[in-house]
C-alpha cells in the first residue's frame, strides 16, 4: 500500500504545521531529555526499562535452572539461591510485567484513541522515575548480596524480623511499594485520559476495543494495588517499629499477610492478561481482514473477568485451614472465571474463521499464545479444584502452571505486538532473517522447560528447594527442563539481534505497513511528539478507520486543533460517553520537576532502608513540598471563555469547566485510597475475629473527649473548605475560611498524636493497639496532606490562578477534606468501638 500523493501546497501546509507543533511539543536535546513529559518518550522508556529488567530476571531464572539441572549441585549456596529465585519472581512480576503493560498503555492508548497525549504528563514522568529508582534499589540490593530472599510473595513469618533480621525484606517492601506508587499514579492517569481525552466523536461504543481493555485494567489496578501497599506498609512498620500485625504471639496473624497479598496477587494475573488481550483484539482483525467478532460480548466478558478475578484470591490459600464451605466459593469462582476468558478466545477464533487470515510473523506468536494460554488455563482449572490443589500445592506443578499463564498471557502476545508495532515505533519494517528461528526456539524451549516441570511437580518435587538428592526420579526431567530453558534463552537472544537489525537496517516506511484500521497508524511513523497534527472527528465505527487517507488530511490540519496558539500544548477533552468536545485541555511543558520529586521520594525510601526515620520523614515532607511547587504553574492566569478549536466549534479551557481531568483524577485517586482504608478495616476485623491471643490482657481504652474532638475538627475543616469555595464564588476573600481549615487540621493532628500516645494496650504489645494506632495514623496523614492542599490554595490564589470560574483548586481541597472527615469518623468510631468488640469475643465458645 502506498500513501496518497499530496500536492505541493498541501505538503507545504503540512510541513509548516509540523514545524510549529514540533517547536511546542518536542523534548530538548542532551540533558533536557531528562525533563521530558511526552507520552511517547515516557512510554518507550517504560517499555525498554521493563525489558532490561526482563533480561536481568531471565538471567536469574537461568541461574536457578543451572542449579536444578543436576542433583546435589554446588553452583549456588542456599542463601544465594533464595535471593536469586525471589528476585526472579519479583522482577518478572513487579519490574517487568506490570511496567510493561503500563508502558504499552502509555505509548499506544492516546494514539489509538486519537488524542495527542495523556491528561497528566508530569505524573507520567514521575511514575517512570519512581519505577526506575525502585527497580534500581532492588537490583543493586541483589548485586550487594542483600536482595529479598523470602520468595516473591514474601510470606510472614519467614519475611518477619525473627527469620529475616537483615534488610533483605525491607528492600522488597520499600522497593516494590515505590514501584506500586508509580503504578497507581499511572492507573489514575489512564482512567481519566480514556474517559475524558478521546478523539472528538469517539463515543464509548466507537472506542477501539483496546481502550476498553486498558480502561478496565487501570480500574482494576486502582483497587488491586492498595491491599498490597497496605500489607507492605504494615509489615515494614512491624519490622521497623515492632507493631505486631503478623506476629501471632502478640495478637497478629501471619494469614493476614496472605489475604492482603493475594487480594492484589490474583487480580494482578488479569491486570497482566487484559492489556495483552487488548493487543490481540487489535491485531487479530487486521490479520483476519475482518472486524472483530462480538465487540459487545467482549466488553461484558472484560467486566466479568475483572470482578471474578477479585473474588477468587483465596484459591491461593486452599491449604491454610479454611472451612470447606468457604473454600467452595473460591473453587467454583476459580473454575467459572474460565468462561469470560473463553468468550474472548472464541471471539478471536471466530474472527479468524470468518475472515481471510494472512500469515505473517505476529500471527505465529498469536497461535503460540492460543496453545500456551489454553494449557495454562486448563491447569488453572485443575488447581481450582480443592482436592487436586492439596496434592499439587507448593510443587513445581504450580510453578509450571504460573509460567504457562504468565507467558501465555504476557510474553507471547507482547512479542506479537512487538513485531506488529515496531514499524510504528521505528519507522522501519522488519528484515526477517532471524525472526523465524527465534520464534521456534522460544516456543520449543518454553514448552520443553515448563511442560516437563508439570511432571516433576506431579512426581512430588516442591518449589523453591535449593537442591535434591538424585534418588527421587526427578533427574532427567530437571535436566531436560534446564536444557529447554537455555534453548528459549538463545531464542530470546536471536530475537534481540533481530530487533537491533531492524532498527539499523530495516526498510524505511512512512505509513502503515499492515493495512490496519485503527487510529495509531493515521500519523507519520515514527510518531512525532505531538502525535496528530490535528484531531480526527470519529464518525465511523471503531474498526473502520482508513489510516492511509486519513493521515495526510490530519497532517494538513484538517481536523480539530490544526493550528498552534500561544505556544500551548493543546488537546481536547470530551464528554465521557458521547465523545462530544467539551473543553480545551492545555498540557504542561517539559520540566525537571518529576525527576526531582522522584529523587526526593527515592531519598525518603533509602532513608527508611537505612533506618534513618527522621531523614525519611524530612524526605516525605520534601516530596509534599515539590508536589505543591509542581502545582504552582498549572492552569491559566486569566479567564479566556470559549476558544475556537476548528470546524466552527469553540469550547472553554479545562480551567473553566466543572468536569476537568484533575477533578476526575482526585475522584479515582480517592477510590484507590478508599480501597486502602477498607483493607485496613478488613485487617482490623480479621485480627479481631481470627487471630490467636485475643482478647489482649490489658483492657483497651480511648479518651472519648479527645476522639470526638478529632472528628469535630475534621468536619470543621471540611465545612470551612466549603466556605472558602462560596467566598471565591462571590468574589470575596477566602483566606479566613482557609485559615479556619488550617487551624482545624493542625488541631486534629495534634489531638491524634496525643491519642496514639495514650493507646492501651501499647501498640508494640498487642495487635489491637497496633491497628488502633494505624487507623489514627491514617487520618493524621490525610489531615497533613489536607494542609498541603490548603498551602497550595493560598499560593495559587495569590498568583492569580483562582477565580469564580477557575475554582478547581478549592473544589479539590473540599473533596479531599470531606473524604478525610468521613474516613476520620469511621476510623475514630472503630477505635472507640474496640473495647466493646473485645467484649463480644467473650461470647465465643
Amino acid at each position: 500500500m502506498t500513501a496518497p500523493v499530496q500536492s505541493p501546497p498541501n505538503r507545504a501546509r503540512a510541513l509548516r504545521l509540523h514545524r510549529e507543533l514540533v517547536a511546542i511539543w518536542a523534548t530538548g536535546p542532551g540533558l533536557q531529555r531528562l525533563a521530558s513529559v511526552n507520552h511517547s518518550v515516557i512510554g518507550l522508556r517504560f517499555i525498554t526499562t521493563s525489558l532490561v529488567f526482563f533480561l536481568i530476571g531471565g538471567v536469574l531464572g537461568m541461574l536457578t535452572r543451572v542449579q536444578l539441572a543436576t542433583p546435589n549441585a554446588g553452583f549456588m549456596d542456599p542463601e544465594t539461591y533464595s535471593q536469586v529465585f525471589s528476585m526472579h519472581g519479583s522482577m518478572m512480576l513487579f519490574l517487568f510485567a506490570v511496567p510493561m503493560i503500563e508502558g504499552i498503555a502509555i505509548y499506544f492508548t492516546p494514539k489509538l484513541l486519537g488524542a495527542r497525549d495523556f491528561a497528566f504528563p508530569r505524573l507520567t514522568a514521575y511514575g517512570y522515575w519512581c519505577f526506575l529508582f525502585g527497580g534500581t534499589i532492588l537490583t543493586v540490593a541483589l548485586i550487594a548480596g542483600v536482595g529479598p530472599n523470602s520468595g516473591w510473595f514474601m510470606y510472614t513469618p519467614l519475611s518477619s524480623n525473627v527469620y529475616t533480621p537483615g534488610i533483605n525484606s525491607d528492600v522488597w517492601l520499600l522497593g516494590v511499594t515505590f514501584v506500586e506508587i508509580s503504578a497507581l499514579t499511572l492507573a489514575v492517569e489512564i482512567v481519566v485520559s480514556i474517559l475524558k481525552m478521546r478523539a472528538p466523536g469517539m463515543s464509548l461504543d466507537r472506542m477501539p476495543i483496546f481502550g476498553w481493555y486498558i480502561l478496565v485494567t487501570a480500574l482494576m489496578m486502582l483497587v488491586a494495588f492498595p491491599p498490597l501497599i497496605l500489607g507492605s506498609i504494615l509489615l515494614e512498620i512491624e519490622r521497623a517499629f515492632g507493631l505486631p500485625f503478623f506476629d501471632p504471639t502478640r495478637g497478629g496473624d501471619a494469614l493476614l499477610w496472605q489475604h492482603l497479598f493475594w487480594l492484589f496477587g490474583h487480580p494482578d494475573v488479569y491486570i497482566i492478561f487484559l492489556p495483552m488481550a487488548g493487543v490481540l483484539s487489535t491485531m487479530i482483525p487486521v490479520f483476519a481482514n475482518r472486524p472483530l467478532v462480538g465487540y459487545r460480548a467482549i466488553v461484558v466478558a472484560i467486566i466479568a473477568l475483572a470482578f471474578l478475578s477479585f473474588g477468587i484470591w483465596v484459591h491461593h490459600m486452599f491449604t491454610v485451614g479454611i472451612p470447606h464451605l468457604a473454600l467452595a466459593f473460591f473453587s467454583a469462582g476459580s473454575a467459572i472465571v474460565a468462561v469470560p476468558t473463553a468468550v474472548q478466545i472464541f471471539a478471536w477464533l471466530a474472527t479468524l474463521a470468518h475472515g481471510r487470515p494472512r500469515w505473517d510473523l505476529p500471527m505465529l506468536y498469536i497461535f503460540a499464545f492460543f496453545f500456551i494460554f489454553a494449557l495454562g488455563g486448563l491447569t488453572g482449572v485443575m488447581l481450582a479444584i480443592v482436592p487436586f490443589d492439596w496434592q499439587a500445592h507448593d510443587t513445581q506443578f504450580v510453578v509450571a502452571h504460573l509460567h504457562y499463564v504468565a507467558a501465555g498471557a504476557l510474553a507471547f502476545p507482547m512479542l506479537a505486538g512487538l513485531y506488529y508495532w515496531l514499524p510504528l515505533i521505528t519507522g522501519r519494517v522488519a528484515v526477517r532473517g532471524l525472526a523465524l528461528p527465534a520464534f521456534w526456539m522460544i516456543f520449543v524451549g518454553f514448552n520443553m522447560t515448563f511442560l516437563l516441570m508439570h511432571l516433576v511437580g506431579l512426581l512430588g518435587m516442591p518449589r523453591r528447594v535449593y537442591t535434591y538428592q538424585g534418588h527421587e526420579g526427578w533427574d532427567a526431567l530437571n535436566l531436560f527442563s534446564s536444557v529447554g530453558g537455555f534453548v528459549m534463552t538463545i531464542g530470546f537472544g536471536l530475537l534481540i539481534i533481530d530487533v537491533l537489525v531492524q532498527l539499523r537496517y530495516g526498510r524505511k516506511r512512512r505509513r502503515d505497513p499492515w493495512s490496519a484500521t485503527t487510529l495509531e497508524w493515521a500519523m507519520p511513523i515514527p510518531p512525532p511528539p505531538y502525535a496528530f497534527a490535528s484531531l480526527h472527528h470519529v464518525d465511523e465505527p471503531h474498526d473502520r478507520v482508513a489510516p492511509a487517507t486519513l493521515a495526510p488530511a490530519l497532517a494538513r490540519g484538517e481536523g480539530y486543533l490544526g493550528f498552534t496558539r500561544n505556544g500551548w500544548q493543546e488537546t481536547l477533552g470530551v464528554h465521557m460517553t458521547s465523545g462530544v468536545p467539551d473543553q480545551l485541555i492545555i498540557l504542561p511543558r517539559a520540566t525537571y520537576l518529576p525527576l526531582w520529586t522522584a529523587l526526593a521520594t527515592a531519598g525518603a525510601v533509602l532513608a527508611m532502608l537505612a533506618k534513618l526515620y527522621l531523614l525519611a520523614a524530612a524526605g516525605a515532607l520534601l516530596v509534599g513540598a515539590l508536589f505543591v511547587l509542581g502545582g504552582q504553574n498549572a492552569g491559566l492566569r486569566r479567564e479566556y471563555g470559549p476558544l475556537p478549536i476548528g470546524h466552527d466549534l469553540s469550547v472553554p479551557p479545562h480551567t473553566e469547566v466543572a468536569g476537568s481531568p484533575p477533578w476526575w483524577a482526585l475522584i479515582f485517586a480517592l477510590v484507590s485510597d478508599g480501597t486502602l482504608f477498607t483493607s485496613l478495616l478488613f485487617g482490623t476485623f480479621y485480627l479481631w475475629l481470627s487471630a490467636p491471643n485475643w482478647p489482649p490482657l490489658a483492657t483497651p481504652q480511648t479518651d472519648l473527649l479527645l476522639a470526638v474532638a478529632v472528628v469535630a475538627a475534621l468536619f470543621a475543616a471540611a465545612v470551612s473548605a466549603r466556605g472558602s469555595l462560596r467566598a471565591i464564588a462571590h468574589a470575596t476573600s477566602p483566606h479566613a475560611w482557609i485559615g479556619v481549615s488550617v487551624l482545624a487540621l493542625v488541631g486534629s493532628i495534634a489531638t491524634i498524636v496525643v491519642l496514639i500516645g495514650d493507646i492501651v494496650p501499647h501498640p508494640r504489645e498487642h495487635a489491637l493497639g497496633a491497628t488502633a494506632a494505624v487507623l489514627l495514623g491514617y487520618i493524621a496523614v490525610h489531615a497533613g496532606i489536607g494542609l498541603l492542599f490548603l498551602i497550595s490554595n493560598v499560593l495559587r490564589i495569590g498568583a492569580g490562578f483562582v477565580s469564580a470560574r477557575r475554582n478547581i483548586d478549592l473544589r479539590l481541597t473540599r473533596l479531599w477534606l470531606e473524604y478525610t472527615a468521613v474516613t476520620g469518623a469511621i476510623a475514630v468510631g472503630l477505635v472507640l468501638a474496640l473495647p466493646a468488640l473485645v467484649g463480644v469475643l467473650e461470647l465465643r465458645p
Binding site: 461504543d205 467454583a332 465465643r844
Partner: protein, 112 residues
C-alpha cells in the same frame, strides 16, 4: 451523533451487576466466618447464608428486569443501545455467576 448524550452516571451501571455479586461474596464469606467463630447452630447459619444469597439474587433480578423492560430512548442513539446491551449482559452474567459460584457451596458442611 445522537441529539442527547448518555449521562456519564450510566457508567456505574456497567459495573453494578458484578458489584452486587461482589457484595454477595463478601457478605456470605463474612457471615460464614462469624457463624463459625461464634459457633452458631448449623441450621441457623445455613439459613442466614441462603437468605443472604436470595436477597442478592432478588436485587440482581430486579435490576435486570428494570434494565430490560425500560423502553429505549430514541434520542440517545447507538451509544444508548450499546449501554443497554452491555448493562443487561453484565447483569445476566452476574446472576449466572452468583447462582453457580455461591449457590452449591451452601449445601456443604458449614464449619468443617
Amino acid at each position: 451523533m445522537s441529539a442527547r448524550a448518555v449521562p456519564p452516571r450510566q457508567l456505574w451501571l456497567l459495573i453494578a451487576g458484578f458489584g452486587v455479586w461482589c457484595s454477595a461474596l463478601v457478605v456470605l464469606y463474612t457471615l460464614h466466618a462469624f457463624g463459625c467463630a461464634f459457633a452458631w447452630p448449623t441450621g441457623a447459619l445455613r439459613l442466614g447464608l441462603v437468605a443472604t444469597l436470595l436477597i442478592h439474587l432478588a436485587v440482581l433480578g430486579w435490576m435486570c428486569r428494570d434494565q430490560t423492560r425500560r423502553p429505549p430512548d430514541p434520542e440517545l442513539g447507538a451509544t444508548a443501545a450499546f449501554f443497554r446491551w452491555v448493562i443487561a449482559g453484565s447483569l445476566i452474567a452476574a446472576i449466572v455467576a452468583a447462582v453457580l459460584v455461591l449457590g452449591p457451596p451452601l449445601l456443604l458442611s458449614t464449619c468443617v
